[in-house]
Amino acid sequence: MATTTEVSSTEFNVVGTRPIRHDGTEKVTGRARYSADIQLPGLLHGRVLRSPHAHARILSIDTSKALDLPGVKAVVTSADFAKPSGRVSDLTEGAIHNMGFMANNVMAGEKALYKGHAVAAVAATSPHIAEEALGLIDIQYEVLPPVLTLDVAMKDDAPVLHERLASLANPGLRPGGLKDDDDTGEATNIANHFVFESGDIEQGFKEADVVVEREFDTASVHQGYIEPHAATAVWNADGNITIWCSSQGQFAMRDQTARLVGVPVSKIKVIPMEIGGGFGGKTIVYLEPVAAALAKKSGQPVKVTMSRTDVFQGTGPTSGTHIRVKMGANKEGKITAVDATLAYESGAFPGSPAIPGSLCMLSAYEVENARVEGYDVVVNKPKAAAYRAPGSPASAFAAESVIDEVAGKLGFDPVDFRMLNGAREGTRRINGVRLPRIGYMELLQAAKDHPHYSAPLEGPNRGRGFATGFWGNGTGPASAVASVNSDGSVSLVEGSPDIGGNRVALAMQVAEVLGIAAEDVKPAIGDTDSVGFTSNTGGSGATFKSGWACYEAAHDIKRQMIERAAKIWEASPEDVSYTDGVLTHNSDPELKLTFRQLAARLNATGGPISGRGNVNPRGQGPATAGCIVDVEVDPDTGKVEILRFTTLQDIGKAIHPSYVEGQMQGGAVQGIGWALNEEYVYNDRGEMSNSSFLDYRMPTSLDLPMIDTVMVEVPNPGHPFGMKGVGEVAIVPPMPAIANAIHNAIGVRMTSLPMSPGNILEAIWSQQEDGKA
């Protein structure tokens, strides 16, 4: 059952309704085309050869035998790509990516830095021939000791991945970089070490009546999108390149590929195919530059695809972490101090989400005295990619578990304790930034009022847990163009790939402004030559920023429609009003034109009308979520069953409530998988031993109950309809909520993820040992 708690209600015609998505029929009939569905005349098939070693120097690559295989048309190695500098001094402040590292990740240069790191690629007339050819490429490696854990990586005498890695102390430079040539500092694996501080923690701990300190570990997990990566490229003789791929941003793919193959962005057109899930993992290039390089060499179109094992070993995942949290609170239930250290594995190249993880950890609370120290550490594992609310789930697992323990020791109900400390409008985050109006307090109240929270829970080994989470939400530049058709419909071209229903939510914002039906807006996602720059569908930002662009484009149409009506009526635009899709002459109400009527007369009265929106809006507003979960633990097997699950989220205003619920449910279930089963399992050579869906176990329908949703609607002042990004935050609270429920059920505090049967049994046994000792 889904419920909505509204704080204020504005009347809308379209916003808040549930029209059928425009791309729905194509998707339920198999006609929608995803990245691997492209077929072209003369298409070659590309495959990538990947390093069998987690850490090795590449001494030589001999591709001659592969090239001799009939059917093989091209082979590429790092020699076929541009070499952008990876130096810190060449990065701009606030840079999102280090292109030198990205080039190296796409195709290994001097060293292979993880098992699965791309080292060469082949294009052939069939996928099977391409696969055979990979086996004929002869690479000589000097195998080096792999650095696989944070512990080892952070030691002074650890083997280093990058001899010239700069060790930064700057949370503004997440992608990290290489040292300048004249810098002779020590070699290290610590790419960034930063501290956020506020107040006086020493004083704060003195004032505490209870102090809890614990350490937590979380394993790497993969985004797990069902569609593997695929990219198809054509490189024409005039130097123009076309790429078909599915990604979270066609412009990011274009710009990154341009840098990596060494051409201006104007030479590349990226055509966005439908995307089969991304969750953050499809925001950076892997195959696009490879397909382009193979297309150039072979002179034919090339489609490069990944196998599921390639996806696990070569893309994603999110960081493994080690987090220590010490928290003090007084008898009145106020948190007096927090001291935390967070170390995140970034994989082979810097840029883990240690920074957002550290920033989000305490952001839902008013904590006067806090110190949060973060480390970004390179290890011989795939380069970490964004995954839904990057960084926040791990830090919330730690902090929300400790809050549960502190509240329990002080005798407070977990929701009450959070209410006593919860953040409101104006609360300062640890980086000094003040929060805008958020709905955290309303969310806590909604949790308390929910029947699930007070429902009886009987039976042995059953327990209930609660936890919350915070995510900053993102925004960025976005563009949209909308054109009025003669039948009164509007064709909308926007720049945000539709990852889970945002296309319909954008069309609805146009319809709302124009007073027409959602079905009368026809949304399409433009390629990079058809619409203005739009940043990634990421950071929960697409429906917000592209929504703003659509809102602007619709207002642009509205203004021109008013002018046109004025022209027809020989009046001035001020004499015309526009309400609910009807234009009326203010002083002569007999003069009326519906949107549809006027649309039919545009060509004859001055020409077609299009509206545009080009924005980079602020005011996206952070998001909070919470969940209530009931579990049953089998003390003999360690298996945890989810009996009941309610997810609550501070959503601003739902544009399309069904897809908001969908984001909440999907995020919650990814969180459940992360909590209970999912992890990268490595052997001591740094080989992932569970790189298939059989062994990397994501939740199935059978593992879950229905996921109840509560949408808490506190309008976001930063958006005309009060909406805010909803895509990510629901993944944050399930891990601590389930850990808290397990504690409630069997009295065992889980401090590492996943809470798989084996880990639960070990925790039970070690608690029994301690009890005996």
Binding site: V28, Y225, I226, G276, G277, G662, S701, L704
Partner: protein
């Protein structure tokens, strides 16, 4: 390279002939040879259900069937579920219930659910969850998919 085999089969009621290499899977044949890309690949090793098709009345993962094994078979794929002028009640129900987000898993879920409802017109939630456990969806958390299948069962019963 081994010689290609000439295969005759029936797909969505139509007689189809194709040539395939002995090593090509039915999934590859559908997608690459016949250009019927509605059937999706998620894993190519039988663990995600994105490639689900119906073969002689049974659901199979087409990535685990060889193209050559389809000789004389009767196949049903996502392309054959709707009629030219109307969607199948399951497809309609998936749309109405917002049971897809990215949609890559949807063809597989629809074929698997259709097979279930043809055998058991009135399954309960548990049965639906059990039946669909071989189909992975990473986006929805399954809630809306299960509801869509249960609702389609009701619609089909009224119609039937």
């Amino acid at each position: 390279m081994a010689k290609k085999a000439h295969i005759e089969t029936t797909i969505n009621g139509e007689q189809v002939e194709y040539l395939c290499e002995p090593r090509q899977s039915l999934l590859e044949v559908l997608r690459d040879v016949l250009e019927m890309t509605g059937t999706k690949e998620g894993c190519n090793d039988g663990n995600c259900g994105a490639c689900t098709v119906v073969m002689d009345g049974r659901i199979v993962n087409s990535c685990l069937v060889l193209g050559a094994e389809a000789e004389g078979a009767n196949l049903e794929t996502i392309e054959g579920v709707a009629t030219p002028d109307s969607l199948h009640p399951l497809q309609q129900s998936f749309l109405q219930n917002a049971a897809l987000q990215c949609g890559i898993c949807t063809p597989g879920f629809i074929l698997a659910s259709k097979a279930l409802l043809e055998m058991e017109p009135d399954p309960g939630e548990e049965r639906v969850r059990h039946w669909l456990a071989g189909n992975l969806c990473r986006c929805t958390g399954y809630d809306k998919i299960v509801k869509a299948v249960l609702e389609a069962a009701d619609v089909l019963e009224v119609k039937g």
